[in-house]
């Protein structure tokens, strides 16, 4: 599948996301503790933009009154009804088999670009500079 450029890694710090539109599809790319996960930006329940949800941990309990919070920063709560989605899989916590949003593969690659030297005739002597930066790509 073709890889589409999402943006620079530095643009999407941990806990944030960036939305890109690829061939008409809105995709939200989340930075989860340094890993990038891309989900269709549409809640499978009623279509809210998942990019606007809050990022939380997963509350669990085996005994009423005893609470544990695991997986900090890995759970997204939909902005409309608060349903929880696993950012690493796109699956809902309450109904993982029946309710999930589409997931896309991501990768981080180095991108190099030669610096432009401008108009050689009117400038002092210049030297070529290579800028190398990490970019996030999504396969759509």
């Amino acid at each position: 599948m073709p890889k589409e450029r999402v943006g620079l890694v530095s643009e999407i710090p941990p806990g944030s996301n960036k939305v890109v539109t690829v061939r008409g599809r809105e995709i939200a790319v989340f930075n989860v503790g340094g890993d990038f996960h891309a989900l269709l930006n549409r809640c499978p329940h009623e279509g809210a933009k998942l990019s606007r949800g809050i990022i939380v941990g997963l509350p669990e309990s085996e005994v009423p009154g005893c609470y544990q919070l695991s997986r900090p920063g890995e759970i997204l709560r939909c902005p409309w009804h608060g349903w929880e989605f696993d950012l690493r899989t796109g699956k809902s916590h309450c109904d993982p088999q029946g309710l999930f949003t589409r997931q896309y593969k991501t990768s981080v690659e180095r991108e190099t670009s030669p610096d432009s030297c401008g108009d050689a005739g009117l400038t002092a002597e210049t030297f070529p500079v290579i800028v190398e930066e990490a970019v996030v790509l999504v396969e759509v």
Binding site: S61, V63, P64, Q68, H81, E84, C94
Partner: protein, 351 residues
Amino acid sequence: MLRQANPFPKVDCDLHLTLPTTSELLPFLDDYWHEQVTSRGIDRLELTGDISNLPAAIRPDWRGPATLERVQTCALDAFDTDIAICNCLYGAQAVYNADLAAALCGAMNDWLVANWLSKDERLRASIIVPWQHPELAAKEIERRAPDRRFVQVLLMVLGDRPLGQRSMWPIYAAAEAHGLPIGVHAGSTYRFAPWTNGWPSYHIEDQAAQSVGFQTQLLSMITEGVFKEFPKLRVVLTESGVTWLPSFLWRIDKLWRGLRMEVPWVKRPPSEIVAEHVRLTMQPFDGPKDPQIVREMIEQIGEEMMLFSTDFPHWNFEQAEFAPTGFDADLMNRLRTGNPLKTYPRLQETS
């Protein structure tokens, strides 16, 4: 003294006995409470919502003193009932003094044994408990549990607190330990208005509010984690109206998905928890006249969820026409035999 178990008994899961006056309990009270009841004139302690001859509630041909003979004729023989679970509601379950409540409830259970259970082997009873004080209630359960004719613990739907709260758990611990379902019966102690908008003006409002009360109490037991803490506990909603259940479950299943982080011990959709732990007696059944719609409702509720009851002497049907429209004979048989036997383990021991 108990007959060999009948494998297919016809069970009535809600039959009412009426304690006419507190003085009936005098033989079963200790010296102190005997004197208190007589010297203080504690006589009629009827619940406001369960007046024994309330014309709107009691079937005309079933009015009058509930003598053993009358119950045998009108409630047992008339329906060919093999086993009937007697639920007795009285002011003992509503007085504020917890010690008085405990004394009266204990005496009522003695009264049930002496005047009813020992006189007709078809009769079973719910243990009457002073739920005003859950520890005392648990003691009463412990005291009665060895008598296998007590098959359930009786609570009311509208009391002084949500039923799921941890302060109530001693009752559930004792009930679970002895294989006794909790019967939550319509009725109120009138500590609070029967619904959350203040006191209604009319009887029709009070009656309709009962079903709302069942919804809130069922939800309380789920969210507080009663079924997580007591995984073998069964709850029987008695006189709840029944048909509110599916839409209520659709709503709370939906809400659970968005709010379950408050109650992370609720790990399954509430409807699954209810299907495993909760049953409902079928009188009154709030349904339409169209049998096709009723059959769809039964499918939504789940026929395994319902238990046959006459609700004697309350006025839910005429003559012996206890099957609501849309309930066929096979279904009624399952509601009268298979479902009760699965719900009340003690019924399989003796019948």
